[in-house]
Amino acid sequence: MDLLNAIVALLNFVVVPAMAYGSQLALGALGVTLIYGILRFSNFAHGDTMAFGAMVTVLVTWLFQSWGVSLGPLPTALLALPFGILGCMGLVLATDRMVYKFYRAQKAKPVILVIVSLGVTFILNGLVRFIIGPDDQNFADGERFIISARTFKEMTGLEEGLAVKTTQGITVVTAVVVVALLFWFLNRTRTGKSMRAYSDNEDLALLSGINPERVVMITWLIVAGLATIAGVLYGLDKSFKPFTYFQLLLPIFASAIVGGLGNPLGAIAGGFVIAFSEVGVTYAWKKVAGYVLPESLAPDGLIQLLSTDYKLAVSFVILLIVLLIKPTGLFQGKSI
């Protein structure tokens, strides 16, 4: 019974939240890795692209809520998501046309594009705060839990409860669907294959009659979709605050690099590695240890390795370890 309680506590406080967070990071890292693979630079504006897409979704959600439109138990934001994606697509295409296209024409090297993307970051950052304000915005509605801790306890008679939030369930399901669609697209469709070909060898893609500008445009559109979905899921799960998206950049990049930059499979693995270590390191293991260990060995302290305030440091450390030991990432990176 104690062991069951330990497992439930572990699921409740570590596995479920880390799964949801990992899915969000994986979706974000997929966007970063696609840009890296095809446009060949690390897009620092990705966090703020997520914020912009999420912001449009929040605004449309509020509009729907004011009209009284809802999805019942599901959050209204899901209904607003397509509009957010469209808005974000418009934004990235506009930035590409106004900013990145010029540097592509000059054949600017990645290091320049990275700095350019940093500039775009600041503009987007300001734009989002200008439109929606710097504060926390709440836009989640619908049923809050799939299973609440109390129902779970009543059902099983265990001491520990297991709560699964609706948003966590939606996050994982959406991530699985989106990733499956993306892989199907990249590996099975003509356009997807042409994107991989372009990532593999730009000159040869040109010789095969693949239009680079079209590949770049489709990449931006997919990235806008991924970024908005990741941003909205994160916002639903936690809350929408523009600055947190800028901070998300670090774990997202850590995920992409840990997995192997440019490798979509790696981005997903990296997302979960980062999420599980972040949650695992900042979780107070006292409760779980209390169930598993005999009484005499029961710990006095919280056995929390790091305060949650330092959770960003976890990404940093993992990033450092990976770069020192296996610089190409867990999966072989550098091309899609």
């Binding site: 890296y36 693979g37 060949r40 630079f41 690390s42 540097y103 000059q106 054949k107 600017a108 090297k109 990645p110 290091v111 320049i112 594009l113 990275v114 003509r190 294959k193 042409s194 991989r196 070909a197 990532s199 593999d200 060898n201 730009e202 000159d203 040869l204 893609a205 040109l206 010789l207 095969s208 009659g209 693949i210 239009n211 680079p212 690099i257 930059l261 440019g262 770069l323 610089p327 550098k334 091309s335 899609i336």
Partner: protein, 274 residues
């Protein structure tokens, strides 16, 4: 430090970006159109002068041509501009002077993609396959511009290069040098080109494989596709050539039939080792 603000400084860091796979070509910009220019050989790059980007001229008044049913071979010492000449014909660099004509049309202003659509196939010397894609995907990418059913063409290519059929689901980067070259030629043939341009198809393969590749190239030529080819193995290449060009420092030095060039004492002495 170079004066070019977009140069290579600080690009070794792979976490910033992946410069190694970037395009190095400065292809003809989009927007140009083909004009009718009847007469002359099937494919000709005429009086071409130009170089990469804003760099110095590499080609000086260079002319290369191939006619229907022919194999034309370009030979010459290292750095003579052989590969550059091929790229110029294919629109991979901007010409300052000269014209490229294909089948009675002036295509100087066309982008490489548009030239592929006009029926030109090109196999570059290096990085001529998509290493991370499977053999079959490489061939599919070769047929990218085709909207019709290209399965017949793929079968033909598998007949021409049986080893590729065996390895169709393997990543092309895992193949041997000779097999890679077959993938590269196969990829270019997928568009059913009206003219095929090969830049050193036998570079880096063993002599036995080289003979086999030459046989295959002759086989392709027999189907009626004119072939324009750069080759290091000058003697062997000139033996199968209907037309030969010897380039020196980006200009035509000697031109003639393959046999003439092989017999020419100057050419023999300078380029064929006596």
């Amino acid at each position: 430090m170079s004066s070019d603000p977009y140069s290579d400084r600080g690009n070794k860091d792979l976490s910033l970006g992946n410069a190694s796979k970037m395009s190095t070509a400065t292809p003809v910009r989009p927007g140009g159109e083909a004009r009718a220019a009847p007469g002359g050989p099937f494919l000709i790059g005429e009086n071409m002068t130009g170089g990469y980007g804003n760099g110095p001229d590499i080609l000086h008044d260079c002319t290369i041509a191939v006619d229907k049913g022919e194999i034309a071979v370009i030979v010459g010492p290292n750095g003579a501009g052989k590969s550059t000449g091929m790229k110029a014909v294919f629109g991979m660099l901007n010409l300052r002077q000269g014209h490229v004509r294909l089948d009675g049309e002036d295509i100087t202003q066309l982008t490489p993609q548009a030239r592929v659509a006009k029926g030109m196939g090109f196999v570059p010397q290096t990085s001529n396959i998509f290493t991370s894609l499977t053999v079959e995907e490489n061939l599919e990418m070769g047929a990218f511009i085709r909207t019709d059913d290209f399965r017949d063409t793929m079968t033909q290519i598998y007949d021409l290069f049986p080893i590729l059929k065996e390895k169709r689901y393997q990543a092309a980067g895992e193949l041997s040098g000779g097999q890679r070259q077959q993938v590269a030629v196969g990829r270019a043939l997928m568009t059913q080109p009206k003219v095929l341009m090969l830049d050193e198809p036998t570079a880096g393969v063993s002599p036995i494989v080289m003979d086999e590749l030459f046989d295959r190239i002759i086989e392709v030529a027999r189907t009626g596709i004119p072939i324009l080819m750069v080759e290091q193995n000058a003697r062997q290449a000139l033996e199968i050539a209907d037309k030969g060009y010897v380039l020196v420092q980006g200009a035509n030095a000697y031109t003639g039939t393959g046999k003439d060039l092989l017999a020419d004492p100057d050419v023999r002495k300078s380029f064929l080792g006596g």
